[in-house]
């Protein structure tokens, strides 16, 4: 699931020059993979499993900045900046490939398709960050949860992981809480209301969306 470089047609042959790292490194569930302030000489791309980019504050508070799905760079920032300023935590077990940054930059300079793919991934990441700022600043709890679910749903759809009205969904309420700036207790309340309205169900590591139109209306 490392489609980042090969999603578009190869308009040149530099794409094949980018060596795929031999090793695909496994990580276990619920463990920190990379720590804040670590200096990275590589750009890891998750091949399999879910992870988060998390920022910690004093007194135990923490905020999830983004969910990292299979095929995504841990952070696009790492292409330009070796300093990791967030911590990367596994949700499920999985694996990643570590691409050498210098090599990556050379490959980007040599290939329009690699350049375009990485940049558009980075742009999408930044766009999501901006959306999240607006969401956390100005939306209600129900809207925040709806925004998160719709965003993930659309990304998982692109990854062809959605089947009908359901996807495998490893997030716990506390993840949703840390991503939306809410409490897990209140996330539960919001999800109960969604459930009773027949909109969404989360149970047994499975997300089912019955009325995505109603959910999307909350994201406007």
């Amino acid at each position: 699931m490392c489609s980042l470089f090969f999603g578009r047609g190869q308009d040149d042959n530099a794409a094949t020059d980018l060596k795929i790292p031999q090793s695909q490194i496994e990580f276990p569930a619920r463990r920190t993979i990379f720590r804040r302030h670590e200096t990275m000489d590589c750009v890891p791309i998750v091949c399999d499993g879910w992870a988060t980019a998390t920022m910690a504050l004093s007194s135990g508070r923490q905020q999830i900045l983004s969910f990292i799905l299979p095929g995504e760079m841990v952070t696009g920032r790492l292409v330009f900046d070796p300093q990791l300023h967030v911590s990367i935590d596994a949700i499920t077990g999985g694996s990643y490939r570590a691409y050498d940054r210098a090599q990556l930059r050379i490959a980007m300079a040599g290939s329009q398709s690699i350049f375009g793919n990485i940049l558009s991934a980075f742009n999408a990441e930044n766009a999501r960050a901006d959306q999240l700022i607006a969401t956390l600043g100005r939306r209600t709890a129900a809207e925040r949860v709806a925004c998160l679910l719709v965003d993930l749903w659309d990304r998982l759809t692109k990854l062809q992981m959605v089947q009908g009205d359901s996807v495998e969904f490893p997030l716990r309420h506390s993840h949703i809480a840390d991503a939306t700036g809410l409490t897990s207790v209140y996330v539960n309340t919001v999800l109960r209301e969604f459930r009773h309205a027949g909109v969404v169900t989360i149970s047994g590591r499975l997300l089912r969306i019955f009325d995505i139109a109603k959910l999307r209306r909350l994201t406007l």
Copy 2:
């Protein structure tokens, strides 16, 4: 005040190859300069005055994503992506220079110093966005206001616009509210408490910070 390209030593002469646009375009206070979804063939850099990058939601809600100070790119994103996805609004009157994106990219490719300056500006912008996400998601009202004031204070200090304990400060309470996800009424309350505690004063377009240590303690 367009120091972005000339901040560091010129380690090569490409820096001087980047033509400074003849025109320095003026903008009036309190007007939208660039609209959301506009396609830009240039990267504007504010020379003078303050502006915001703002995202609008339904029902009149809006969130300020960042304040743009003299010398800063309107958004680093524009270096890589011509689509503007936020609206840029003037706070004060001022001016900007429009750098051609294609030319800028060539200059970046040719000069380590230009490349480094632009990238580090972009990285700083992204780091602030991540901080803002954590702030809006997990901090109290007083902490949010403190974070904003400290961030602006430090940036204005670098720009040498701070004199002693005071800076010129054109933000109204509604700006602070839209940046912190609060109400202007409650911003007023927070600022009153700061004032009574002898920490900060805002009046007559002037920000004075008497106890920055106490303010910084709120940003941990």
